[in-house]
Amino acid sequence: MASRPASFLAYTGLWVLVIISVVIAVTFGPAKISPAEVWGSLLHHLGLGETSLSPLRDAIVWELRMPRVLAALGIGAGLALSGTVMQVLTRNPLADPFLLGLSSGAALGAVTFLLIGAALLMPVGAFIGSVTALALALSIATLLGGATPSRAILAGICIAAVASALTSLLIFWSATGDSYREILSWLLGSLSGTTWGDAGIVGLSLVLCSPLILLSGRGLDAFAFGESGAIGLGIDIGRLRWTLLGATALLTGIMVAIGGAIGFVGLVVPHMVRLVVGSRHRVLLPTSMLVGALFMLWSDTAARSLFDPRELPVGIVTALIGAPVFLLILLRYRQVT
């Protein structure tokens, strides 16, 4: 067990890493801006000093790159938290918002609202889509004879396929030219064109949902030996399950509405963190959240700068890293799937 000072040091270290990463990630891009200039602009906008940058370059830092970097942090944190919670509640080491079909469901909900002209309500559509997909995946898995990990994934694949097909159909019917391309790249997962409004929605959903999840560490620990184990340890499992499934569906829905269907973050990050800190959720949840934020930030930075001036959808980067890790997890847990 990590002692108190050790885990305090680890958290502090991760937070420092997050701040340094933000400053460095903002320097990436066609206009060359140094970390010191980014730091100066940051302090200026927080009302703590003067910036040395010209208004144009300052706008590149503050209006173009900063919201995108912060949204990436928030989306990574949210997806990693959602994945961790789902893996415990479904007792499924392979559970992930993407693999259980939540992301595709959210995408369908979001595109539907977008195309009927209610762009502002996209997050609501995404939430409805992700809740519906989760409920369907778990009930189909139960119909197949009990929600084992592999059945839940098979049900998730089925739902993802239907939702993606319906989404493509909607786009095929209604979208034209540019919006068509934009929606496609968003479906693959992309943070291109993120505004302060987007970053704000991501931040707000984290502020609403993450305390509920972070304070459930004790209850999630009790789930180690399944429902009966949790009841035996005095957990009100009905209340805990519905609170957490609601919070994760909301988080996933909002993250997809803003960033598109970005896969594998919720799967890869919790597993990597578990290898280091173990399965005690009071440590695992906050650590996964910070590592997820870092993972997403650097994936997105790679996506927008590797093939500059062309930009990769970030979902391709996370899938390239995540799919091989998914295979490793499959091999590791072959006895329980």
């Binding site: 499924n92 009966s228 184990g229 035996g232 340890l233 957990i235 173990g278």
Partner: protein
């Protein structure tokens, strides 16, 4: 003081009735053995007391307080349960599994176990003799080792009522005797113990009181010497057996002979 009292309990699963009008008791500070053939309802009865299974009718009280309907957290501070087999997909070390037993006593805001929690956990680890592998991963242990870890976790709950579902099924003979000896000491210290057992001789040797279940009903209840008879073994277990009480002992001893076939006679007879 009255220990655990079960009155007219009925448990249903869909249309079938698993427990029907079960009334029995587990006296305070004693070991009560729950015996009966496979499918008699032993695990269901324990599950109903723990709160894992909804009950259709009847009541369960412990030390005069009703258990059914008690808030889950309050119940977990009163009683602890050891399942027949408990598996996990989590990466948990043995010490972390025992620490789970302190969850009912911790607040939502508590990030790490208190010094008192840690002392209780170490005591439980010492009592079960699992210290040599306390740092190993739970899922890498044998079935018998896992059972002892689960029992240590239950002891860490410092229960006044301990319910165990075949806690010795994966244990070798030495470990079986050690675990049952431990239950004896806990009972002597005031804990009420209800334990489902398959081995009738272990039940006769260690239990103060026996409850025999057959097809969801209580077939007999009382002291081992009164309950364990050749007639009961014939009617409930459908076997021919001799029951004798060795000179100088108060525990009956069962020697099995053969099964009774459909016509009601012994196969070999």
């Amino acid at each position: 003081m009255s220990g655990l009292v079960v009155g007219h309990l009925q448990v249903r699963a869909g249309k079938s009735t698993i427990l029907d009008d079960v009334s029995c008791s587990a006296p305070a500070g004693k070991i009560t053995g729950l015996i009966g053939p496979n499918g008699a309802g032993k695990s269901t009865l324990i599950g109903a007391v723990v709160g894992l299974r909804p009950t259709a009718r009847g009541e369960v009280t412990f030390e005069g307080r009703t258990l059914l309907g008690l808030p889950p957290a309050e119940r977990a501070r009163l009683l602890a349960h050891v399942e027949q087999a408990a598996t996990t997909t989590e990466r948990l070390r043995v010490r972390d599994v025992v620490r789970l037993g302190r969850i009912p006593f911790q607040s939502t805001w508590q990030a790490t176990p208190s010094t008192e929690d840690e002392a209780i956990v170490e005591d439980a680890i010492g009592e079960l003799g699992i210290a040599p592998f306390a740092g190993r991963l739970y899922h890498s242990l044998s079935g018998g080792e896992q059972q002892r870890v689960q029992l240590a976790r239950a002891l860490a709950q410092q229960p006044r009522l301990l319910l165990l579902d075949e806690p010795t099924s994966h244990l070798d003979i030495e470990a079986q005797l050690r675990v049952l000896g431990l239950l004896r000491r806990r009972a002597a210290a005031g804990c009420t113990v209800l334990v489902a057992l398959h081995d009738l001789n272990l039940a006769a040797r260690f239990c103060d009181h026996l409850v025999v279940l057959q097809q969801g009903r209580v077939a007999a209840e009382g002291r081992p010497a009164d309950v364990l008879t050749a007639a009961l073994l014939r009617d409930v277990y459908r076997v021919h057996a001799m029951v004798s009480t060795p000179a100088g002992s108060s525990h009956p001893h069962v020697i099995y002979d053969d099964v009774i076939d459909a016509s009601g006679t012994s196969k070999s007879g």
